[in-house]
């Protein structure tokens, strides 16, 4: 192993360490009124708490289910087990098996029946067990769920949320580390979001459930366990807003989900080398909130888009094209993309070389700076 790949290995290991680490990267902009407390997610108490993303989503689901009895959860193994990632742990005990449905093992069936339940006035929240298992439901999502509102001339809405644990860094087997978000962002009628922090996850899942449009909710599974500060009193921003989470002056870097953590690590390393990166958390992949991004690019003149997904026909491609159209005279360099390779996700032993690392981001930053 070369020195460079050893370094990359070290950095990526740190990024993917599943032991709980404090993640304050995306803490809310508002100042916490009280010190963060460690509280079990099931407490249902408001205030500022330190939670993992998984438990923040649990708490958000609980809030949504308490607020509206039409909200129900559907998925495989989400009842007594609490889901393979334990995100629904304890919810069937509290809400019963007619609101937390352990479904038959059939993704098209889950989404198709969720559509019927939505027609009946329910607000189903579907859990797809792993990213790579969403494709049996692809037809129901793209040809049915996405189109019911327009087919009904607006007389029927589809308040269905599809939660998808996604992405790599967990060393798992085939079909368990995919990043399929672009397929759904490409489909009119769907909304697609991905939180990067426990705080955003807590609020965004509730906002997604409150939306009357179908929302694909991509949960970066490598970020399920690191803990962060969650302000359960203040959301901070709307569901489809992007935001600058670290200010800088030389190059803008943008990403979503787990990639935001990688970008922040890259910004730390770059700062030590005298390069100032501004980090934008996309949060919403459809629609994309270009305001903060264009504003940033107008100041830095350089943009690197990073993503775990394949680069070809990707969210990053869309951003590169749009920024080139809208900020052409601000750009000092072409918009560069950092992506996984256009191959199937390789055996997990190779994932650190496959997935974009902080160093891969910095390599693109260097190229952007060289123009």
């Amino acid at each position: 192993m070369s020195a460079r790949t050893e370094e990359e290995q070290r950095v990526t290991d740190a990024a993917s360490d599943s032991a709980p680490i404090e993640d304050t990267s995306a803490a809310p902009a508002v100042e916490a009124a009280a010190p963060a407390q460690e509280l079990p997610a099931e407490s249902g108490m408001r205030g500022v708490h330190t939670l993992s993303m998984a438990k923040a989503i649990t708490a958000g689901l609980r809030e949504a289910m308490r607020a509206d009895e039409k909200v129900l959860l559907m998925g495989e193994d989400i009842g007594p087990l609490g889901g393979v990632f334990r995100v629904t742990e304890g919810l069937q005990d509290e809400f019963g098996d007619q609101r937390v449905l352990d479904t038959p093992l059939a993704e098209s069936g889950i989404v198709g029946t969720a559509i019927g339940l939505a027609m009946r006035g329910y607000r189903p929240v579907v859990e797809i067990q792993f990213d790579g298992f969403i494709f049996p439901a692809f037809d129901q999502i793209t040809t049915q769920l996405a189109r019911q509102t327009v087919r009904h001339d607006g007389t029927v809405s589809m308040p269905v949320v599809i939660r998808v644990p996604y992405g790599g860094h967990i060393g798992s087997i085939e079909h368990h580390q995919e990043s399929p978000e672009a397929y759904f962002a490409h489909t009119p009628g769907l909304r697609v979001v991905s939180p990067s922090s426990p705080h955003d996850a807590y609020w965004m899942i509730q906002e997604a459930i409150a939306s009357n449009d179908p929302v694909l909710f991509f949960e970066p599974k490598s970020r399920y366990w690191p803990k962060g500060t969650v302000d359960q009193d203040h959301s901070g921003m709307p569901l489809h807003a992007s935001r600058v989470i670290r200010t800088g002056t030389d190059v803008t870097v943008v990403g979503h989900g787990a990639m935001v953590s990688t970008l922040l690590q890259a910004a730390d390393i770059a700062a030590g080398e005298g390069t100032s990166l501004e980090v934008v958390d996309l949060r919403s992949l459809s629609p994309i909130d270009y305001g903060p991004l264009l504003d940033s690019v107008q100041r830095t003149g350089r943009l690197v888009v990073a993503q775990e997904a394949y680069g070809f026909v990707s969210i990053g491609s869309e951003i590169a094209a749009t920024v080139a159209e809208r900020a052409f005279y601000s750009l000092e360099a072409p918009v560069l993309r950092v992506s996984s390779f256009d191959t199937p996700f390789p055996p997990a032993a190779l994932e650190t070389e496959y997935l974009p690392s902080p160093d891969r981001v910095l390599e693109a930053v260097d190229r952007a700076m060289a123009y």
Binding site: S108, G112, T113, L117, D213
Partner: protein, 377 residues
């Protein structure tokens, strides 16, 4: 070792013979009281609706040939399966059609001009189910609607609208699909979910023997009704060209569903006398002899013979035929008056809430169109 059975047969439940005699098969005896309880007006309505369906088929096919519709989907031959089952539903029940059940929609109160609007390319949907007898939109991706119906029925059950004994409240769901659709995974997944949750619904398969050009023998080597048992629900095969048995068996099945006894499946054996759609040419894949066989089992001819044997007058049939012709002529007239939608329809209701791409692109299209001379409108 005992020989494994390869005997996959199911009796066909029939009340009315092809020649129009009320002579129940053994399995049909139990359903006879449901028919005997029908008032004469309802028996006449069955005939009227079948006659209207057949006349509309002619009007629809003509409109398509004249370039007024992109497509027409005929029901010729399947009138009894559709009319009998539709009349078995109560007002609060919900119907999920495939895309061939025009007369079912009309029985539920839908103006068929809305269907023509869909087939003319003026809308993707055409009606609000809540305002049209709970008759849901047509679904063109085969068998997708079986899952929507199942989810809807699960919701009915979660709402407590099953098994209360209140005939005005207890609700069932009736979903139509065809023999071709039974091969889709969604059709099987719907049976799994319905059985698991004991949802109040009836799966109504119109086995018209042809999925465009592929015979039902390619979809299934055994009667489709037998599939129900494998999923843990009752299944029955009926003569789908017998409007009385279609009504009675569907009525019984829906009542059981409303009472909380769970889902069931009906396979109605019928025949698509015409083309799959006006884009099809059935002479390329089936024989005249087969069509002649089914012509002898025509649902309207046999029912008329039975009504005549009960004393229906020639004046009644003349009046119905005139009425059906009027309905078809009126539909044709109004179809020709359908106007094309305006371009706002491209963007309207893609989302329920504001969306930047919809706003940007509709504004761009307006500006683009208005850039042409006289194009501002």
């Amino acid at each position: 070792m005992a020989a494994r059975t390869r005997d996959f047969t199911a009796p066909t439940v029939q009340l009315l013979t092809p020649s129009g005699e009320l002579r129940p098969t053994p399995e049909a005896e139990a359903y006879l009281p449901l028919v005997e309880a029908l008032p004469d007006e309802m028996l006449e309505q069955f005939y009227r609706d079948m006659a209207i369906s057949r006349r509309i088929d002619i009007a629809g096919a003509n409109l398509q040939r004249q370039g007024q519709l992109a497509l027409w989907v005929p029901s010729h031959g399947q009138e009894a399966a559709q009319v009998g089952s539709a009349h078995a539903a109560r007002p609060q029940d919900h119907i999920f059609p495939s895309y061939r059940e025009h007369i079912v929609g009309m029985i539920r109160g839908l103006d068929p001009v809305n269907i023509l609007s869909l087939l003319r390319g003026a809308t993707l949907g055409g009606w609000d189910p809540a305002e049209n007898g709970n008759f849901h939109l047509y679904t063109l991706v085969l068998a997708s609607q079986t899952l929507h119906a199942t989810g809807y029925a699960m919701g009915v059950q979660f709402d407590g609208r099953v098994g209360t004994g209140d005939p005005e409240s207890d609700t069932a769901v009736l979903v139509y699909y065809g023999d071709g659709s039974t091969s889709q995974g969604d059709a099987s997944e719907a049976l799994v979910f319905a059985s698991s949750y004991q949802s109040p619904q009836v799966f109504f398969i119109q086995n018209n023997h042809w999925a465009i050009s592929v015979p039902v023998s390619r979809q299934s080597r055994s009667p489709l009704s037998l599939r129900a048992g494998g999923f843990g629900m009752p299944g029955v095969r009926i003569d789908g060209n017998d409007v009385l048995v279609s009504y009675a068996v569907t009525r019984q099945s829906l009542e059981e569903a409303r009472a909380g006894e769970g889902p069931s499946l009906i396979e109605a054996l019928t025949y698509r006398m015409g083309a799959h759609t006006t884009a099809d040419d059935p002479t390329k894949y089936r024989t005249d002899a087969e069509v002649a066989y089914w012509a002898e089992r025509d649902p309207i001819t046999r029912y008329r013979a039975w009504l005549e044997s009960r004393g229906a007058s020639a004046a009644f049939f003349d009046e119905v035929d005139a009425h059906a012709a009027d309905v078809a002529a009126d539909l044709r007239r109004r179809a020709l008056g359908l106007t094309a939608p305006t371009r706002e329809k491209i963007f309207a209701h893609v989302y329920t809430e504001p969306h930047p791409l919809m706003a940007e692109q509709s504004a761009w299209l307006d500006a683009y169109e208005s850039g042409f001379e006289g194009g501002a409108a």
